[in-house]
Subunit: 206 residues, 2 copies
DNA sequence: GCCTCCCATGACACTGGGTGTCAAGTATGA
DNA sequence: TCATACTTGACACCCAGTGTCATGGGAGGC
């Protein structure tokens, strides 16, 4: 009736179709493998046309990987929220922990998806693209934070790269663990990784 | 006549077509942009059919990026060739310098290609895929070198990731430089980057 | 309650990347 | 000289992704 529920209705309709599509996709892809499933098949399973699929997702890969889009901004915000003057290793640790703990909390749903991504070349490529975007975001935020020029100074990009290398290593390890036990120890692993990185991250002399 | 020149002839024919194809591709892509050029166009320019193009290159991206294929093995070999007991930072520095100096030596041809790759999303994605392969190779070699298990121990993958983060940061900086001056200073930059990394790379306590 | 406008959808056609298949051409090797 | 194997082009095909248009249903104004 009012503007609120009216908008909310359209919104919810859209959300409904999107979930239907992702659910169908995830199920089919996990079952038959990425290449053996066509977009037509996914769309039909979800009860819409192929054309509609592409109005919701930019590509066949996107239906799996799209949830990664926001994480760059999340990590950047997480970094921006850290207190001024905090050591880079500490600040970056918290920044990178954001998506990791999110994963851990929804391990039930997230783990199969992560595994699917890591073992499907086309999906992995998109994942790496997202990581590269995150690296840019972290680079900019870190440079701003430290008052450095990311074009002239190697440190910001390097530090961002190190943080994401830790993220990637931990994610791979986490995805190999048992379904049940590994819910929370991603936090421990990322801490371990940053303990190794800290000597380099925090010697900001130049 | 003998087996030698006979094989060499077939080989050279193949090589000839391949270079014709890459030359045509590089010229057209640099001129019109990646998306505005079709494989048909490239093939026709090189004087062959589209079908033949795909007998030489696995994808449209590959014709630009294919030369990266060997670099993983090169870097791995470069790492394996370092003396036992050398500090990881030193060994990895030399390992990663191999492709970088190769780039520097052929800067005339390499620079435009690198720039094309870095500013074309589809090409960048393939580049990142290659980097991921290199990271696996370095991880394995480094683990073997240090007698560590890359599945149980975060250090090898993390160190490989750091090395490639340095590689990537330096490559990006190098590609931004002036056409003339930056031939040799990639070496200086990668040294600078590894100086930052060394405190973390060489504290192999755990 | 009706009419209008907007928006989501489906149908359709089309481009372009990538592959399987087959037939013809060419060089090699006996 | 003939048989063989390899390379190529032609053609048909699949599928991802996009532009376009007609339609239908729902929301808001009257």
């Amino acid at each position: 009736m009012t503007t609120r529920s009216e908008l909310s209705l359209a919104q919810r309709k859209r959300q409904l179709v999107a979930t239907e599509l992702t659910d169908a996709a995830l199920q089919l892809l996990a079952l038959k493998g990425f290449d053996a499933v066509t977009v037509d098949e996914i769309a039909t399973t979800a009860g819409v046309s192929k054309r509609t699929f592409f109005r919701y997702f930019a590509s066949k890969e996107d239906v799996v990987v799209q949830f990664l889009s926001g994480m760059g901004a999340d990590m950047r915000a997480g970094l921006a929220a850290r207190p001024d003057g905090e050591r880079p290793s500490e600040a970056l640790l918290h920044s990178v922990s954001v998506p990791l703990t999110t994963c851990g909390e929804h391990a039930e749903r997230a783990l199969p998806v992560v595994r699917l991504i890591l073992r499907t070349p086309a999906l992995l490529a998109r994942f790496l693209e997202h990581q590269a975007e995150w690296r840019e975001e972290l680079t900019e935020e870190l440079a701003a934070r430290l008052g450095r020029d990311p074009e002239a100074d190697l440190y910001p990009r390097l530090a961002a790269g190190m943080a994401l290398a830790a993220f990637d290593a931990v994610l791979r390890r986490w995805s190999e663990g048992e379904d049940t036990e590994s819910t929370a120890d991603a936090g421990a692993l990322i801490g371990e990784a940053f303990a190794m990185l800290a000597p380099a991250l925090d010697s900001v002399t130049s």
